[in-house]
């Protein structure tokens, strides 16, 4: 009985999409999953998570700089997604909405944890928790790479939150300025300003590190 209701809702949603001018080919797999999940299909929601989990957890790690926090943030993000799934229009940009939720969750979590990313990253490097996906196999080169990662983490940690969010989304996640503006809820002009400022500070930080290291 319950299954029939779900199926009916799913069919209804698909029919509604057709009536609104979208053909079967135009309905993306993500939109199908969203429609099914909205109708209460948990398998579809699980599939949505599988499709987006890497993206969410990576963003969370870049913003929080800690694996455990990143996992917690991803978990909370998907819970919020499920909670507000009924409000999502399957035809619209699900990815942007997901990013927005993830960014808000990371902001909340960062406020809660009162722990600097610099310390987290250093701790991860020291404890060996930080694993590079395609890092060099040589131990010495590997250590140098890990140190470089920690320096970048520190450079990001020096930025104000808004600038950090903007540059991570733009330069590391590869989103357009307009997309970043939508996710952060600000104008493209503001985002450009934040990105410009962030890039200048990152360059200055890197120059400072290079000077400390010396010519060698």
């Amino acid at each position: 009985m319950h299954g029939e209701t779900r199926a009916d809702l799913m069919d209804f949603a698909l029919v509604a999409n057709k009536l609104s001018g979208q053909s079967d080919e135009q309905i993306t797999p993500v939109a199908r999953l969203i429609t099914r999940a909205q109708a209460g299909d948990l398998t579809a929601f699980d599939q949505l998570m599988i499709n987006h989990q890497q993206k969410v957890i990576t963003l969370a790690w870049r913003l929080l700089g800690n694996q455990d926090d990143a996992r917690d943030a991803a978990q909370e993000t998907f819970l919020r997604v499920y909670k507000h799934l009924s409000k999502v229009d399957p035809a619209r940009d699900f990815s942007g909405w997901l990013y927005r939720i993830a960014v808000n969750v990371c902001r909340d979590l960062a406020r809660k944890r009162l722990r600097s990313n610099q310390i987290s990253l250093e701790a991860e490097v020291e404890t060996g928790k930080m694993i590079e996906p395609a890092g060099p196999h040589n131990t010495e080169t590997r250590a140098m790479h890990a140190e470089e990662q920690a320096i970048i983490g520190r450079a990001l940690a020096t930025l104000p939150v808004k600038e950090r969010l903007a540059i991570v989304l733009r330069d590391l996640e590869g989103l357009s300025t307009e997309e970043v503006a939508r996710i952060l809820g600000s104008s493209p002009v503001t985002v450009r300003s934040q990105i410009s400022s962030a890039r200048s500070k990152i360059r200055a930080f890197r120059e400072g590190c290079l000077k400390k290291r010396g010519p060698g």
């Binding site: 948990l42 957890i57 790690w61 694996q67 991860e124 970048i152 890039r199 360059r203 890197r206």
Partner: protein
Amino acid sequence: MNCTQIERLIPLYIGGDLPAEDETTVRHHLASCEQCEMIACEFAESRDWLRGFTPPQFDQPVLDEMRERVMTKIARVQTPPSLLDLLLPTWKIRIVLAGSTALVLLIAGLLVFLNSQRLTEQHPITSKGRTPDPEAKQKQHPSDITKTEPNPQTQQQKRNANHQSPRRPATTEIKLPIINLSQIDQFLDIGRREITFPFNSEIAVNLDLNENEDREMLKIEIQTADPNIRIIWFVPVENTSSAFKH
């Protein structure tokens, strides 16, 4: 545009964030200005350096566990919460401690009260405020018993006597006022023999009504001036009534 203005645009230029017109202007300037070209190279290197910030490879079990937790929480949300689930989040350790302490005190108080009630029923101490049984009052002959002023000494003796006497739950004890020894002769005539009292003093007389189902008995208790001597006498109620009628 001069170099200062171009320098401001370089951070956005290297990321392709400038409008087409500004981008062309900067490109033309960089082609002609070596210093600005060097700055642009530094920005580009810095951006590439930042993009080398690669996230760790999250293991599949970690991701599976994360998804599993999400699904568990969703399942919990979907099932209606029990009363305990609703109450638990609001419970705090202080409230729980205060509540349990109050409950223990309440139970202890209740037990003490019940125990004291039970003891009062088992030991009917003839206190000042106690009112005599109306039925027993009716059985008393008003002319036979004369009220006297309560003597503190004799009352103390009376209390001692009551505490020393054996308990008989089936007997209703009626406390009678103290009567004069000179008036007891008529009262003692109920019995079949005369009792001579060596004391010319007040004595306490207690009448106990035995509520035996078979036969009602009247208990006559005489406390002499000597606290160690007490006379107890049981008489059938009918006899007593007739004796009182004399």
